[in-house]
């Protein structure tokens, strides 16, 4: 079609400036996705941190089986709880022996096992598990006759959930700000690219061109520039991925878990195209006669 030819001609005519615009869009998208990937992978890494939220419910030595079962079912009913494990005093002794390692002769000195039966409760690590809720559950459990005491690593729990929350908040803030910036800069770049064309559009109008005829080549040009920009961004990301990340993984096995979903590379040109097209639509604006 003629519009396509015109758009391509126009891009070729002003190679340099179009190249700059494409490169700008590419770099922007690249950075945007790089940020998103870092956030995505930080999220993945933090989710691999084993859930450390657990409590130890110490049971009285003289508690009956029924009383103990009541405590267990109370704990299991709660939505906050992931697992409830019964640890007999014998099992606890085995654990203690591990602490003293080869020196378990120390413990052999005991006549009777001096330890106690207990439940280890592991809580869910979702961010909607609130410390206050857990505290409420704990005081409930304490009312049971069978329960001697409940130990709960509160400080630990709070700092961990705060960290996760913080990472998430920073992530959302950063990527939102960034998305706005990318859209804005894309718009600006395309706008500046078309700013010089006012006169051209003026002449088109005077020759009797309809709105569609005037705008189509500009839209196509914006779309093509955006598409190519996105493509170049994808290439940059791939290069970063191959060079930096593979080096990093070789050095630090932890990073082997970092993952770039393939769809991202398909997204690049699409988002680039949309940015370029959107920028062109806004830049050309409403054509008035």
């Amino acid at each position: 079609m003629f519009s396509v030819k015109m758009a391509l001609q126009s891009i070729l005519r002003e190679k340099w400036i179009n190249f700059l615009t494409m490169a700008t869009l590419g770099v922007l998208l690249f950075i945007f996705f790089a940020i998103l990937l870092v956030l995505y992978n930080v999220e993945r890494l933090t989710s691999k941190i084993p859930s450390k939220l657990s409590s130890l419910v110490v049971l009285k030595d003289d508690a009956s089986k029924e009383e103990i079962a009541a405590v267990e079912s109370e704990a299991k009913r709660s939505k906050l709880v992931k697992t409830v494990d019964f640890i007999s005093k014998e099992a606890a002794m085995e654990d203690l022996k591990k602490v003293f390692k080869s020196d378990d002769f120390i413990l052999k000195g005991f006549g009777e096992n001096p330890l106690f039966n207990s439940f280890e409760i592991k809580f869910k690590s979702d961010e909607d598990v609130k410390t206050s809720d857990i505290k409420a559950l704990i005081s409930k459990l304490k009312t049971h006759r069978a329960v001697d005491d409940v130990e709960f690593g509160q400080a630990q729990m709070e700092s961990l959930s705060a960290l996760k929350h913080g990472v998430r908040t920073i992530g959302v803030t950063l990527s939102t700000t960034f998305a706005c910036a990318v859209v804005f800069i894309s718009y600006t770049t395309v706008k500046i690219l078309f700013y010089r064309r006012k006169e051209e559009i003026e002449i088109y109008k005077l020759l009797g061109a309809t709105r569609g005829f005037i705008r189509l080549p500009f839209f196509l040009e914006g779309a093509i520039v955006g598409f190519c920009g996105g493509l170049s961004g994808a290439v940059m990301l791939q290069v970063l991925n191959k060079i930096t990340l593979s080096k990093l993984t070789a050095e630090i096995p932890l990073f082997a878990v970092v993952n770039i979903p393939f769809t991202v590379f398909l997204l690049f040109p699409v988002i680039g195209l949309m940015l370029g097209l959107g920028g062109a639509v806004l830049a050309v604006g409403r054509v008035r006669y």
Binding site: F2, S10, Y204, K205, L207, G208, A209, Y289
Partner: protein, 220 residues
């Protein structure tokens, strides 16, 4: 074909055109003259709707410009061929593409476009400049390209603003011949010029503008 009824145009309270009324019949060839800044170009701008009159009404090629829907403006303009005083050529397009644009806008097939563009280029003796860019042309060459662009669409009305300002006597004659030729084929033509020799002894009507008013009208 062209009717002005008390048309006025003000630029910051300064009248560029004041109460101008005249009418030009279909197929007529007429001249507008007057000193620099008299309002000739402004008059043309009103006719091809680059400006709207602050007062009065204008009818051209059957369109009444006062109650025109915006969407019909392009179609009005396709009936009017304009030789702009400042050429208004697109510097990023070749001579061929500049002229072809007029036809491409109308959706005319590429084959026909090629033929018609080449024939008007021949008419203004610039067939060999077809692939050049406007910036590499001489002043007179650019002016002739502008004329070629105006006539390639075979408009019903032709507005030529100072079409020979950069041209020597020989080219001037050639261009007046072109005007007469397309006028004979039925195109209504209005030419704005300072160059009295263009209209002396033609027997055509000449409108004299002075400081925005129609000072007199006479047969040359």
């Amino acid at each position: 074909m062209i009717v002005l009824d008390k048309a006025s145009k003000y630029y910051d309270a300064q009248a560029a055109l004041k109460n101008v009324s005249f009418s030009i019949k279909k197929g007529e060839l007429a001249f507008v003259t007057g000193p620099s800044g008299a309002g000739k170009t402004t008059l043309f701008k009103l006719l091809y709707l680059a400006e709207t009159p602050d007062d009065g009404t204008i009818t051209i090629a059957g369109f009444n410009t006062s109650n025109l829907k915006e969407a019909t403006i392009p179609f009005l303009r396709r009936n009017i061929g304009v030789v702009f005083q400042d050429f208004k050529l697109l510097n990023n397009k070749t001579v061929f593409d500049n002229i072809a644009l007029t036809l491409r806008i109308r959706g005319i097939m590429e084959r026909e476009t090629k033929e018609r563009v080449h024939s008007v280029l021949k008419l203004v003796n610039l067939r060999h400049k077809s692939d050049k860019y406007p910036a590499t042309l001489s002043g007179g060459e650019q002016q002739r390209i502008t004329l070629a662009r105006a006539i390639v669409g075979e408009p019903t009305v032709m507005l030529a603003d100072e079409p020979t300002g950069n041209l020597d006597a020989e080219n001037e004659d050639n261009i007046m011949k072109i005007f007469k030729y397309i006028n004979n084929k039925g195109t209504t033509i209005l030419i704005a010029t300072h160059n009295r020799s263009l209209f002396t002894n033609t027997g055509k009507r000449v409108f004299y503008l002075d400081e925005g008013t129609l000072a007199k009208e006479e047969i040359a």
